[in-house]
Symmetry: C2
Subunit: 327 residues, 2 copies
């Protein structure tokens, strides 16, 4: 019998989930829930769309609910709310608030006897896993995470809020020289500016003062002031044609020493190059939805992160197949 998956929230991540579930034979997407009028939501496939009001009444038709809302306002409420009734998976990515989110969701999931997986995706998610594994292995070492090349939604939004800006896209780019220094076990201590550069593609309103816009971007505190930032003014057509995608990726490295006197250097590196950030995140959510369902079937409950999930729960292979083909 298939694992019956439902989605709450139908933006980029929801659409990604719709595609990801289709790639998994052991799952079926039974419903999309939205806060909008379902009649106005056009899905990619023929999955049924319901208003979120109907969600609780369909509890017996859903094995895992994947929450596809945002970390700012949706997930801090929704995950704990629905973990009482469903096995849930979310991609909560406000790193500083994860402990608080965990505590709330854990209480709810235990109350409902469900498994709730939080902060699933690639960072937090796969990058976190790689930080943990590498730290457990190389005890005497240094950690580095680089992001990009990829689109930062938050930084793009920040540019769009500047008067005179019609539209914008911002790319975060790791500094190649810094990456190389890490790979060479030089253990560099890197400033914010030394790790990433920022490249902005901006469509200005007609008659806007471009020099003024560029100055405002480059001096914006937190977002750009601490970085070497390049600003390109382009036309709306160019933005649509060349910058419509949502690529991302990055690198997690740990370098460390072994031997009686630390005489040997080692480098562990994990990297992702993603054409579509939300579609890849959805693929990770799908694998952890499988794990959430299985762990709950075994009688487990409460809030879990990627650290708590034995890798075997993610795979469709039998233990024998895993050992003979992947080990």
């Amino acid at each position: 019998m298939s694992i019956r998956v439902a989605i709450l929230g139908y933006g980029n991540l929801g659409r990604g989930m719709e595609c990801a579930v289709k790639q998994n034979d052991d799952m079926e997407l039974v419903a999309v829930f939205t806060r909008r009028d379902p009649a106005t939501v056009k899905t990619l496939t023929d999955v049924k769309v319901y208003n979120v009001d109907q969600l609780l009444s369909m509890q017996d038709q859903i094995d895992v609910l994947v929450l596809c809302g945002g970390s700012a306002t949706d997930l801090p409420k929704q995950t704990a709310e629905y973990a009482k009734y469903f096995n849930v998976v979310d991609s909560f990515d406000t790193h500083a608030k994860i402990p608080e989110h965990f505590a709330q969701v854990d209480t709810a999931a235990k109350e409902g006897g469900k498994v709730a997986m939080i902060s699933v995706g690639w960072d937090p998610g796969m990058f976190s896993l790689n930080r943990l594994y590498a730290n457990a292995i190389l005890r005497d070492g240094s950690d580095y995470t680089f992001w990009g090349k990829g689109v930062s939604q938050g930084h793009s939004d920040a540019i769009r809020r500047i008067p005179g800006v019609k539209d914008a896209k911002q790319y975060t780019i790791p500094v190649e020289a810094a990456l190389e220094a890490v790979r060479n076990c030089e253990n560099p201590v890197l400033t914010t500016r030394q790790k990433h550069t920022r490249e902005c593609f901006v469509v200005a309103e007609e008659g806007a003062d471009k020099a003024q816009i560029e100055e405002q971007i480059k001096t914006m505190p937190n977002y750009f002031a601490d970085y070497d930032t390049t600003v390109h003014f382009i036309t709306e057509e160019e933005l649509q044609r060349d910058h419509a995608g949502i690529p991302h990726g990055g690198f997690v490295l740990r370098t460390g020493k072994t031997g009686l006197n630390g005489e040997h250097d080692h480098v562990i590196e994990y990297s992702l190059k993603l054409d579509s950030n939300p579609e890849f995140t959805s693929c990770v959510l799908t694998a952890y939805a499988r794990a959430a369902y299985r762990m709950n079937q075994e009688g487990q409950n409460g809030c879990k992160t990627v650290f708590d999930v034995a890798p075997a729960y993610l795979s469709t292979l039998t233990p024998e197949e895993m050992r003979s083909t992947l080990l």
Copy 2:
């Protein structure tokens, strides 16, 4: 209280374990067991050395026994034998015989109520984990594993068996163009020759026919015939000076497509660059020794692989610390 670790077998891996345990505050190395006369074994630290005959009598002083013998003849006997009495970890790496080894060890470990971790290291081990995670995430894709640049003990030994060869070291080297094609999502179908080259450094006996040795190396079935092989004749002093290390490493990649019609490409890459193959392997064994002990303390038993171990068991951090610092 510290986790009390013992080692059986004191070669390169045993020495690596001796160093690795020292890097972990929550562990202590209580004994090294050997088949040799203990008086002839010179350890790096002041750890006590015993003959293997005394191992069973020291059961109450050991929490985890790490088996540091070879996969050809030692581990197929030892792991099952000692899994009845101890939580054990081994680095059994004969991929084709893992199912058989698992079955024997599982029976023994269940009989003894112990946890036995097999095939721990980097391949099998960390590379296997990355194959599993990447396959669970990217469902429509291709897998690639490249090894090197590193020393292959088996290939070095094969050269040493040729008449007229005094000593030799063989490096396995991934073909950069093949790696690039994979990273570019070209999904190449690669022959053995296209994936790796082999570079040999050979010390010939005085008066030996070097051309004849080179010919014998390059045409050796299984080991070299299917590869582009380079042979360098050097002096014994050069071999000692420039090729004394045991470096290794490699790359695990999975590329795959997502989207409704597979319109987006993704690359997941994991790589290791290791100055010392046995020391790095020992570090992985140490982390899984911690996991074996903890899982057994929780009441688990039987044979496990890296697929069965939730990452949190490997870390010395509390769950709260993990979530706040690594997630």
